[in-house]
Symmetry: C2
Amino acid sequence: MVKKSHRPEIPRKTIYRLSTYLRCLARLKEKNMQTVSSEALAKVAGVKPTQLRKDLAYFGTFGTRGLGYNVAELSYRIADELGTSRLQPVILVGVGNLGLALLSYRGFEREGFEIVAAFDAEPNRPRDKKISVTIFGMEDLPAFVRQHGVRMAILTVPAEVAQEVANALVATGIAGILNFSPSVLSVPEDVMVNSVNVAIELENLSYFIQE
Amino acid sequence: MVKKSHRPEIPRKTIYRLSTYLRCLARLKEKNMQTVSSEALAKVAGVKPTQLRKDLAYFGTFGTRGLGYNVAELSYRIADELGTSRLQPVILVGVGNLGLALLSYRGFEREGFEIVAAFDAEPNRPRDKKISVTIFGMEDLPAFVRQHGVRMAILTVPAEVAQEVANALVATGIAGILNFSPSVLSVPEDVMVNSVNVAIELENLSYFIQE
């Protein structure tokens, strides 16, 4: 993994929790709260206060004893740490049912991501839904990624072609892939893949709820 | 968490890997392979052979030295452990864009799950897509869950109503919720929630690919 050399190794689970804290802080901001205690923030985030303080300690402390955290400042610091304090361009590859549903979702920009373009092997195929993002053919991928400095891609193609498309993405310089296909992807070490597999999540639930 | 009393505590990450092994074994079956070595299976699953052997040791060993694992037998044993050796009924609540996309996906049955019904506050609202699953109103939820012995639900409702709908699901006796809403849900201890949050996965990627 490519990382800023000065940053400590923050565990992956901590990074996920930072995302949760950021969402909780956004809700507090909407309610015009300016400060929050670690106890209160931990409670809405569903973690122990000691866990919260330990997580925030990875990149310095901001709480003032007795006053708690400044909501706006802590939000900014977490977003900056996650790399989402500025809007990041993301592309989506594979405009089937799931791809269309994700393209229709309007919540990403609020979270720091903009899906700037979509790509599909059949860009002009009739689709069930009108979307505002342009769908390009796969041949346009390399030039687009380079011109727009895109580093992240959402992969919503069928399993059979997932590896091939992942290879194409890696070749263009994409550094992070959010993989929705039910395939295990092989990528070079400096490329990061996060996978979302609905069937595997159901299976995992299934194990834990057995009677 | 409610568990069979005789089973050892298998770590959650191991359960996820069992799902991966199951998918790799399915591919081997398609290729008519009858046995597989732990080295070969570990390779396609993207784990170390020692990890694979350790994971399978949680519920007994089946490999024969020099012959490897019987593909069909190991598949069955893993599916049985995960509780997916028989088709499990699942309901989906919230038929918006993402709900529709999941209802259109035909791969779940192959993986051991059948979405038997969908529920929505506005079951008769016009939708972009024809689907074969019936959409019921929320008032039909309790009777349906009881009559069909459903224990798992996919939650694809907007964030604002997610907790309220989760409460309704818990009240009907649902034991596992796959939550796609960007909310942290509060549920009783004996109910299991797995969450899929696309923005959080993007944020996590974003952190790791920073230059």
